[in-house]
Structures are given as C-alpha cells and as structure tokens.
Symmetry: C2
Subunit: 217 residues, 2 copies
C-alpha cells in the first residue's frame, strides 16, 4: 500500500477530500480557509497545502484573491469527464492486455469471483462504491504499467469520478450488468486481445456514465 499519510497536510487533504466526495461538504459551497483550518486544528499554511492538492484533483476551484469553491456536479461536466475517462481507461485496458502478467490477471479473476460470492452484487448494492485496490478498475489501470497514466487516473481523476458515483447514487439493475461487463473485460485481457478489451472498457464506461446521467432528471 502506498497510502502513506506522512505529513499533517496529507491527513487534512485526505480528510477534506473524503468530506467533499461523500457530500459532507456540499457541492458548489465556498471554502473558508480560517474556518477549515480551525476545524482541522492546523494552520492556514498547512490547509492551503491541502487545498492545492484538492485543486489538482479537480475537486475544488480557485480564483486569485477570492478563494476556493467545491466544484458543482452538472450533467455537462459529467459528460466531459466521462469522455476523458473513457479514452484514458480504454488506453489503459489495451495496454493491460499486453502488460499484465498471468498472475495479475488471475488475481483480478479471483477478485471478481470473490465479489460475486459475497452476494453484494446480487443484491445490487454498493458494488460501485468500493475503493482502492479492491476496485476492479484500479487493477486494470495499474496493469497498464504506464505510470503517467496510472497517476492521471488514480490520483487526479479517480476521486472526481467517485464523487459523481457516490452523490448521484449508483445501484439498481445496472450493478449486476456491470459485473458481467467486468468479467468480459478481464477475459479479453486474458486472451491478450487489447483491441477488444479497449472496446469493451469504453462501452462499459459509457454505460456507467449514461446510468449516472439518468439520475440528473
């Protein structure tokens, strides 16, 4: 695990990030530096360090001499993000078909089996809200072995995607369908068919995006 939280600003960053993603801090709301620094028991300098990183994750927006705002979730932005995500994870998937070891592929298969056996999938509940290494997408991305791509997707885009998932809700019949799609993707990778794997991943993500977009009505 590289989930290293060495410094104070690391901890504040992680805490606030979670608060934003989970909706504890409302989308679009203004962020007061004095208030937040007091709440988290750190100085403003430390808080600002954390805010900088939140901006890198596109979770907040800054204006000079004005301040920070939590981003607002809109259908338009969702569309933009999922277009980017589709292209990048599609690429990751194609690369993974070449670069993943047989061992890594088997581990992902075992992961999916495990998910199935816990039956949370069948109950259509919270399959999507898993985090970190437990996440299917996480492993495929890392399987690309492209560290720049990994950083982009896991550190800069992932929490933003997660924010839409969590706040817009993600459940119902889509869940078990998503599971089947995951299975098809890992099979394509196991067959070393990068082109197919990329196509399937792009479709999978597009379907996921459409599912969230539907919640905006």
């Amino acid at each position: 695990m590289e989930n290293e939280v060495k410094t104070a600003s690391d901890k504040v960053f992680v805490d606030i990030r979670q608060a934003i993603v989970e909706g504890e801090i409302a989308q679009g709301s203004k962020i007061s530096e004095p208030e937040l620094s007091k709440k988290h028991q750190v100085s403003r300098a430390t808080l600002r360090e954390a805010l900088n990183r939140l901006e890198s994750c596109h979770l907040i927006e800054r204006k000079a001499n004005v301040g920070c705002r939590v981003i607002s979730l809109t259908p338009e932005k969702l569309d933009e993000i999922y277009q980017v995500r589709s292209a990048l994870e599609g690429l990751a998937c194609r690369l993974a078909a070449t670069n993943m070891t047989d061992d890594e592929i088997n581990q992902v298969k075992a992961l999916l089996d495990d998910h199935l056996s816990t039956q949370r999938v069948r109950q259509g509940e919270s399959y999507y809200q898993e985090e970190g290494d437990l996440d299917f997408h996480y492993r495929i991305i890392k399987g690309s072995k492209n560290s720049h791509l990994i950083n982009l997707l896991c550190n800069e885009l992932y929490q933003l995607v997660r924010m839409y998932r969590v706040q817009m809700g993600m459940n119902g019949p889509r869940v078990s369908k998503a599971f089947d799609e995951h299975l098809a993707i890992i099979n394509a990778i196991a067959a070393r068919d990068g082109e197919l794997a990329e196509l399937l991943m792009k479709r999978h993500i597009a379907a996921s995006g459409n599912n969230i977009e539907r919640k905006f009505q």
Copy 2:
C-alpha cells in the same frame, strides 16, 4: 488571453516553469527551496505555492521531508506521455470534428496558410518550437469544447511535452511532413469526419513521438 499572472507565486511559477522546460535548470537536479526563493526574491511560502503547481504539471517530483527534483527525461517516460497524449488529443480531434464552427475551422486553415507563407516551414526550422504548432494543436483542443479535456492538455500536459521537444531538439525533414499532416487533419475536421480526424491525429502524434525518441540514441 487568459494568461493572467495576478499574484507573485503566479509569476514565480511561470518563470521556473520556463527555466525547467528550456533546460536552464537541469533535468533531474534537486531544487533547493531557500536558494530558489532567494533567487526569485520571494518567501519560501510563495515559492512552495509555485512548486505545488509545477508538481501538478508533472515537471517536478516531491518526496515528503526530502524535497523536489526536476523530472528526468527518459525514453520510457516519453513513451508513456505520448501514449496518453495520443489518446487525449485523438479524442479532442474527434470532438472537434463535431463541435468546431465553420468559422473556427476556417481560422485554423488560414493559420496554416500563414505558417506556410512565412516559409519557416520550408526551411525546416523550428516550426515545432514556436507558437505555430502550439497554435494548431491548441486550436484543435479548444475546438473540442470539452473544458476538462482542454485543461488537462493545455495546462497539465503541454509544458511537459514541450520540455521533451525543446531539450531533445525538433527539426529536420520531419517539419514539413508535420505541416502536411496538420493540413490533412483540419481537412478531415472540415469534412466532419471525426473518425478519420482522430486516426490522423493519433498517427501524427505517434510520428512526432518517434521522432523525438530517435534523438535518445
């Protein structure tokens, strides 16, 4: 232009970024906060603000309690970056074929005509290191009308790409060839053929990457 340099850390950020991209600060070299802050006549807090943004551009790497280093240029990283860039600009190009107005397309055509008439292209000189290429790719990217994608490419990835171009050198017969490729791309966009435009852009970028990679020998 939104090239707004409002605050002191903005200016320091832009200055250091240029120094890194142009190679004035050697790749892989360690960055001393006290030294740089003195050199740029600002406090360490202001400098660190700038360093944070440089990290967002992937131009420097940080380790907790250790410090910053300028990234090192390697063939492997070049490959990684160009894989990502190819996917993203390919996407941008496809979107541009749908979203650019006829006016915007004609402006890009006029831009290329202008580049040709200045004859710098025919002389095979520095077409790549100037705003010529910058403008072309910039305009296509902005033509995608996807603000997240625009930000990713123009603010987070572009200077890194430019660093490879500038420091590894970029000239010779590749230049006039690149110009022809630009022409083919804008024609595909004008024909509203997004699929072709994406394909051409991906090839164009791959060729550009290979050209740089050759310099590593």
